[in-house]
């Protein structure tokens, strides 16, 4: 295996990991405020189909991305109203959102199946892309990948260095206490859920505008679920999510690597790898109850109703 192949593999790992990174970044913020949104897959599919539609009909890729983010937020707003306002069960509502999004995206995109787009083109960053190996792996991507780098950095800063980050953590850990000191718990949760929706939307857009620039029914193939596992894998730390996303990306292109090594294993078997990796990671993390409790936002999945505060 020569150096060139390794560079290609790592380049592809980043590309494959990017949609996971987007959606998991959204979900981690959402979970940090204590809301578990299992509707990721549905929001992502809706983002993918609406993004494709918008880009296809206007010919403007940027417009497609924005439309996808908006669609994602709208989907998450439905979830937020049901869960935060009406007080519906988070798990059931999230699952319903996924089923709803899967069906609706297939319906909306039915006429567009098989049509293709000229996706975002890679932009080589001057100087940086000339760094041997590293330049070709990291600095020769399309604009959305750079945006994902930026978002990761931004969220690390916000979560660890700002008052907004403190507020988010406080709401997720103890909403009653947060309410008592005057934080508007529901407002924070609404915004976090909608941020999660927007990130799921852009993640879907990455699939239909960049990764495979076309619309196919169910094209996200479970990435929304992997993202949920990824958040646990990263133990709710933003930085680790980036690392995890690229590892998962690498796992899903493993068949390329093995072919490069001259091993012939059924590609179907290898396609399972990221899912197997997910299960293994979940088992390892869940085995240590103690740690799991310490790391997870304490109010995760639990409803909060300010009217019950007597």
């Amino acid at each position: 295996m020569d150096a060139d192949l390794i560079v290609q593999i790592l380049f592809a790992a980043i590309k494959t990991g990017t949609p996971l990174l987007f959606i998991a970044l959204g979900e981690v913020i959402c979970e940090k405020t204590g809301v578990l949104n299992l509707g990721q897959e549905g929001m992502m599919l809706m983002g993918a189909v609406v993004g494709f539609l918008a880009a296809y009909s206007t010919g403007n890729m940027g417009f497609g991305v924005i439309a996808a983010m908006l669609m994602g937020s709208i989907m998450s707003l439905i979830f937020a109203v049901l869960v935060l306002h009406v007080g519906a069960n988070q798990v059931a509502t999230g699952l319903a959102l996924t089923i709803f999004g899967t069906g609706l995206s297939a319906f909306v995109g039915a006429d567009y199946v098989g049509k293709t787009l000229q996706g975002f083109q890679p932009i080589a960053i001057p100087v940086l892309s000339d760094i041997p190996y590293l330049g070709r792996i990291i600095f020769n991507h399309d604009i959305l990948v750079y945006f994902s780098f930026f978002m990761t950095g931004l969220l690390i800063f916000v979560v660890n260095k700002t008052r907004l980050g403190l507020t988010i953590k406080a709401v997720g850990e103890n909403p009653n206490a947060a309410n008592a000191i005057g934080i508007k718990v529901l407002k924070v949760r609404y915004l976090a859920v909608m941020f999660g929706g927007a990130m799921a939307g852009i993640s879907g857009a990455y699939m239909s505008l960049v990764y495979t620039p076309m619309w196919v029914e169910g094209m996200t193939s479970g990435r929304g679920w992997i993202a949920l596992a990824l958040v646990v894998f990263a133990s709710w730390r933003v930085g680790r999510i980036m690392l995890g996303a690229y590892l998962f990306g690498l796992a899903s292109i493993m068949h390329l690597v093995l072919q490069g090594l001259g091993l012939s294993i059924s590609p179907n078997l290898l396609a399972m790898l990221p899912y197997v990796a997910t299960v293994v990671v979940m088992v390892i993390i869940s085995a240590d109850h103690f740690k799991e409790k310490l790391l997870a936002p304490r109010s995760l999945g639990k409803p909060f109703n300010p009217r019950n505060m007597a």
Binding site: A170, E173, A177, A178, I181, H289, F290, L294, M309, A310
Partner: protein, 523 residues
């Protein structure tokens, strides 16, 4: 400002708050002067918490006015209250365990307040020294003891330079030594002109520190007094309405044969912020009550869980009941051997919230009410009604859901249910927590009766006064260690207080060190 000393700090006029089915506050008027330490007294459910939450902006009143420094204000939210200079320390702390002390304090400050402070950490350090609070801004809250957490809450108010500090039962979680530390802080604050509103159940504390007291009953102000001129007994009379029989102490007994033994019981905690049990030894004798004192969170929960079998880890021969090894038995098997258990958490562990009282009775009653696999409902109902009557449980009837009862009433029911099984060994947490004076008396009598019948009883409580009243033998827990067991007559509040603060741990350690013979001699 000097000219305005005649203006009262806070004036409440006719505050009324109606909850569905309950008038929590009924036309309450109270006045607080600057620098005054004012006690708010009353039994559970008298409306104290609702009143202070109204002042702090958590609850909005239906009627009535609040004057702050002579001006009418509308306190719509806690942040408005804090801007005015009102700070509150909650009974159940409102701290975030995964954040540091200074992050916790920062969250409470408005942007304006924050901009006035150059460096929050150094401000905390300065205040910490000034008031003797001993709070380190860089530590994570989950690593702090309960007393330290309370000081963080107080610090949170001090940083905002409060003019009124509200404390909701601040001493119930502190050791006697920590209480006197808290009182020192309150006295400094009062001298600086900060008013303090102090909710407490402990009357000797009120007579010690408060300048004024207001007594609430059933949501109304029934009396006011100057605590200095009163005795705890006379204030208690105002609280309950009629003079309840407050015995100085029940007769003490000495047990006969050992029914239950814990030997060298060490166990890690299942909770991330829990306390591990360390080499716990004690004997429960037939016809004797052992009281274990301690500040909450020092291993009581873990101890209760492992004794009852709720924590299903096998501890083998560390637990003996009637000379039988029970460390491997689960909770149900231990009950069959004659153990009864009253957990601290009433709703959810002591009783199933959605089930009726009848069904909850049946849950722990294995004998009698089931024949050939069929439930004898009439028998269970009759028995439940007897319990309701005997322990004066306020409810609609035996069909009421457990969740519909108030905490104190449910406690009475659970105590009655467990005592009614004539257990050989009763393990019990906070027997009269939240229970009014009259019913507490009934529970005490039932416990003593059970003891006199030859049962071994373990009481774990934070209420030292009650333990001294009931227990024949005393011990204390601190940080998962259990102190030696002593006869109640041979000890006093000071010694138990010292033990609750952990002094016995060093003493025990030093006895194993040969180079300190002097200390050995003392012991």
């Amino acid at each position: 400002m000097k000219a305005q000393t005649s203006v009262s700090r806070l004036e409440l006029i006719g505050l009324t708050k109606q909850y569905p089915g309950c008038l929590a506050n009924d036309d309450i008027s109270i006045t607080l002067q600057p620098g005054e330490i004012h006690a708010l007294l009353g039994e559970n459910g008298a409306g104290k918490s609702t009143l202070v939450k109204t002042i702090y902006g958590v609850v909005s009143p239906d009627k009535g006015d609040i004057l702050w420094n002579g001006k009418e204000v509308n306190i719509k939210s806690p942040s408005i209250a804090r801007e005015l200079g009102i700070g509150m320390v909650f009974q159940h702390f409102s701290l975030f365990e995964t954040l540091t002390v200074s992050q916790n304090i920062e969250l409470c400050l408005s942007k304006k307040q924050l901009s006035q402070i150059d460096d929050l950490d150094s401000r905390i350090n300065t205040l910490s020294e000034e008031y003797g609070l001993n709070v380190d801004p860089t530590r994570y809250v989950h690593s702090l003891s309960i007393g330290e957490r309370q000081r963080v809450e107080i610090m949170r108010c001090l940083v905002q330079s409060v003019k009124l500090l509200i404390l909701d039962e601040p001493t119930s979680v502190l050791t006697p030594q920590e209480v006197s530390g808290l009182f020192d802080v309150l006295r400094i604050l009062s001298k600086e002109g900060c008013s303090v509103l102090f909710i407490s159940h402990k009357l000797h504390e009120v007579t010690e520190i408060c300048d004024q007291a207001t007594i609430l009953r059933g949501g109304k102000v029934v009396d006011t007094c100057v605590p200095n001129d009163e005795t705890p007994a006379s204030i208690a009379k105002m609280m309950v309405g009629d003079l309840a029989e407050q015995d100085a102490g029940y007769s003490k007994k000495e047990g006969s044969k050992t029914l239950f033994t814990a030997s060298n019981l060490s166990l890690s905690s299942k909770q991330p912020f829990g306390t591990a049990l360390k080499k716990i030894n004690f004997d429960l004798k037939a016809g004797e009550i052992l009281g274990i004192a301690g500040v909450a969170g020092n291993g009581q929960d873990e101890l209760m869980a492992i004794l009852s079998g709720e924590d299903d880890r096998n501890v083998g021969s560390a637990l003996l009941m009637n000379e039988l090894e029970i460390g491997h038995l689960h909770a149900g098997e231990r009950r069959k051997l004659g153990m009864a258990y009253v957990p601290e958490e009433r709703l959810g562990r002591g009783a199933v919230p959605d089930m009726s009282l009848t069904e909850n009775t049946l849950l722990t009653h294995s004998k009698g009410f089931v024949s050939k696999g069929l439930v004898q409902w009439q028998g269970v109902k009759d028995y439940t009604n007897q319990l309701i009557e005997k322990y004066k449980v306020k409810c609609h009837g035996e069909f009421s859901e457990a969740r519909s009862l108030s905490g104190g009433n449910l406690q009475k029911f659970i105590m009655g249910r467990e005592i009614g099984q004539d257990p050989k060994v009763l393990i019990c947490a906070h027997p009269t927590w939240g229970v009014d004076v009259g019913a507490a008396l009934a529970i005490h009598q039932a416990l003593l009766e059970l003891r006199d019948q030859g049962a071994a009883i373990l009481l774990v409580s934070e209420d030292i006064d009650e333990l001294f009243l009931l227990a024949d033998c005393m011990a204390a827990v601190c940080d998962g260690y259990l102190s030696p067991q002593v006869k109640t007559e041979d000890t006093n509040i000071d010694q138990i207080g010292q033990w609750m603060a952990g002094t016995f741990i060093n003493e025990q350690a030093s006895t194993t060190q040969p180079q300190s013979p002097t200390k050995e001699a003392v012991i």
